[in-house]
Amino acid sequence: MVVSEKDLFTFVFYSDKLSAELFDYISNNEEKFKEELRVFNAMKNANVADSEMDDILKKINKKIIEYESDKEVILKKVDETNASDVNYFIVDAESDLYGETNQIETFSDDKSKYLAKVLLSSVQTSIQILSKETIELKDIQIIIHPTEEKFDLETSSEPVTLKPARKIESITLCLHK
């Protein structure tokens, strides 16, 4: 007899909805379905205390707000005199591959969680996105201003290269697409 995952779920949660045949089969073969019954019974008996649950709800709501506020971040140009010298090495050490770089600009959000390093040469503009909190960002979109061009990136680990070169005033970083 073929017993599906839903059959086993029904056996634990709504046994009266199961056919007699299936109910008997599962009851007589509990050892065979040991893991599924263990998982579903634990789920059925899960009971977090009300007092604890109020705290949990507050934490989850806070995470939801953070998740949503992180979704679109504006990166504005940072005064280069204040930018850490250390930022310069985020450019690939073989940066001569990008051609002769005339200018390097740094963009950051208000909370300094995200950084964009923009390399300008006579022929191209390269944009590297970095996060302070995670090694790389996945599945993001950047919008450069004022040209309003959009770029979808699977990962922030590769720079976006624009030819011909463009001047960038700010960048919108869209997370959690």
Partner: protein, 324 residues
Amino acid sequence: MNSFNPLNIIRSFQNETQTTPELNFLIKHSYQISLSIVKTRFSSKLSNRIELSFDDLAMDSIVPLFVKGKSRELGIKRAIDRWNDSLENNLDVEYFLAKIIFKRVEQTFTKLIKEKDPVFEKIHKTLSVCITRNKFRKQRYLGTVYILEKGEDNINGQLMTEVEFDSIPGELIKNKQKELFEKLFEYIKVETNNYPAVPLNQLVNRIKSKYFEEYKTSYSYKNLIDNSFIENDILSQSLSSLGEKLETFYIKKNVVNSDDAEKIMMSFNDISSDIKNGGMTNSLFSYLKFRKQSLSQEEFYSNYHHVMNYLLKHFKTNISHLMS
């Protein structure tokens, strides 16, 4: 669900007419399901490999369900719209919630593993491409992703246990891509009484173990013959590349001094060792602080975070290329 009726609540979300009490109730109920799944299906894997509490994993897994996407719809609403099975009664609704939260927990956990373990990530990605290209099917069962033969829509039989899968002869794991899956399906059908379904993450871990086992054997053999130290393991090669980068760029351009470069290198040795044994277990700050006791968070983010972040990216890219 206390005084709330599951079917009515889901209808509210489907029509986007949910009230705040309904939203709060569903969040709490989803958390209970999520925590239960974490404790029953991921607890042993979590404590070994990921620095995250059960509560946090349970919470992080369900947050996206209650966040609005680009379409301005809540994640749970999108999940309801995509659900292929019926949602006619409370049983259907409870099962639906269990399934989507199983999926969310597994996805969150796998994402964390990939962040900590670039070798796991590389193998997982390679297999995922193979699965798509050869039209093998993916099905989830109790949250675990199983790969089925082409043309199979559902799991129709007994699945192998974790212990049974780990007992499959290592010779089969050496096969590549499509042949790997075909040989595994054949083995399961012929040699066991189980349904031919391959647990994806467990397969990735077996491939990873097999990979390092072979390099260790090869290294030991060559060491015996040559009596010389030969670095032929991908992590060692990737570490060498990092060392070279530190020497030729960061020290040369005075981005870091020799002393700091040495401590950064020692941190990456620690990272490499952890990756071999399951994945990174700490933040970059913690790894460097272990080697440079006086380091403060402020100093780290000001002077070292970008260096180590970039070097880690380079390390992962190197591993990926060498494994290719």
